[in-house]
Assembly symmetry: C2
Homo-oligomer: 236 residues x 2
DNA sequence: CGGGCAGTTTGCGATAGCGCAAAAAAGCAC
DNA sequence: GTGCTTTTTTGCGCTATCGCAAACTGCCCG
């Protein structure tokens, strides 16, 4: 088990309010594990035995229906926690987590949680905020799915990804991990065909440049306009 | 400010782990307020100054888009908390709460929260579980909106309402508060017209009996079948 | 270097559900 | 009871989006 440099994680929201000199005490209980691209970290329905903090890479959390359809719950960016089943009182993971890129993850056993939050109450408070924020994001997503058309939802999804995991380029923003049309469809509640058509359209207008599991927003500002325009509005 | 009988709330999930004899100390900080039907309790975007526990009645939490469209986030049943903006670190209420029935609500000032959770850590843990459960429900809702057709989503919504706030009848279950077609549309991401058509259809098959803001599930079991059947399946 | 596979594009017909409009019904106020 | 408001019902055309099928492309593997 490699030792993790406290200075690398001290600034994370999870540890805000924890004194840097105490951080080692928290990290000591975790182990660091590397997952290669496409490796499963945990499966939906499995006993929740650990909780996680992503250090490097990107992780996709997805939920599967009994009939096998999937939705992407979210993409986890470095510095974010995931698999918090223990904290929210779930005995099993409600989703599947998989590394979409080579990733490094800190893993705590659930058994460490009660002790940690007793010793560092800020951890509990920070986690509460995180979960609360995710709840609000979920509600926003439901609102969008209820009131917007597919093109707007795709625009929003890409903008969020760009915001969370965008790599700035000379001209545009590239989403910094492999993501397919299918993935975007599963984030927005549509089909990969429809996503492909939309991106093709945007590409021919120069708004994006994209290829196999790769998307660059060339005109983020114009995509913002797309995302916000009302169902009928605009294109005369 | 009327005194609240501790025995009435002692069994609520919120207070699990709090000793009954300590409960009075928690309740002392709250005031009890009655809201008549259709009264607003708080508005989306307003400064979050309090958090709430519903004692009697029913409350509708709804989110509004900039363009005025609404979705119902959830219906609050007696014994449930709502308006937890403080706990999740939000400065403003992310939704509007309104009494759909004459309701009685316990109200704590946000300023009491830090003290309460310090004194009774179980409150924080219970709230975390509650928020976590709501997050999971949100994800389930997103999954349904992504993968199911409207009729199935309406079936699921009604079954949940029946489960949460159903009054058992000789033959069937009645949803125990006024709810319109529009409300159901806003819970399922469709239009009141479509909901009306669906309920009309069900009514003619004897599955439900409904009227103005009133729905009785006459054949809950058959509605379960509807909710679960695959898009194509069944009706020959 | 030649498959072969996973991911993408595109055409085309089908349709679920929307949106508008108008009428019917159910409460409620006076 | 009468009139008014709110909610519900229903008809009808429209279209955004799906679903299937097929072709295309860039890549990884051997």
């Amino acid at each position: 088990m490699a030792k993790v440099d406290t200075s690398l994680v001290a600034h994370l929201p999870l540890f805000s309010g924890v004194k840097p000199e105490d951080l080692d005490e928290v990290l000591r209980e975790a182990r660091s594990v590397r997952y290669p691209r496409n490796a499963a970290i945990f499966e939906q329905g499995a006993d929740a035995q650990s909780f996680f903090l992503l250090l490097h890479g990107h992780v996709r959390a997805a939920k599967t229906t009994p009939t096998g359809e999937q939705i992407v719950v979210r993409y986890v960016a470095p510095g974010e926690t995931f698999g918090l089943a223990m904290a929210i009182g779930a005995a099993h993971y409600p989703a599947t987590a998989m590394a979409v890129d080579d990733s490094v993850v800190l893993i705590w056993p659930n058994s460490a949680w009660p002790r940690l939050i007793e010793r560092f109450p800020a951890l509990a408070a920070n986690t509460m905020q995180t979960v609360g924020k995710r709840l609000q994001e979920s509600h926003t997503r439901i609102l969008e799915m209820s009131t917007q058309q597919v093109e707007q939802r795709v625009a929003h999804a890409l903008l969020r990804l760009a915001n969370q995991s965008g790599k700035k380029l000379d001209h545009g923003i590239e989403i910094d991990f492999p993501i397919s049309r299918q993935d975007i469809a599963q984030m927005t509640g549509t089909t990969l065909h429809t996503v492909s058509r939309i991106l093709s359209g945007w590409e021919s207008q120069g708004l994006v440049e994209s290829g196999r599991q790769r998307i660059i927003l060339r005109e983020p500002h114009k995509i913002v306009v797309l995302a916000e325009r009302s169902p009928d509005g605009g294109a005369a």
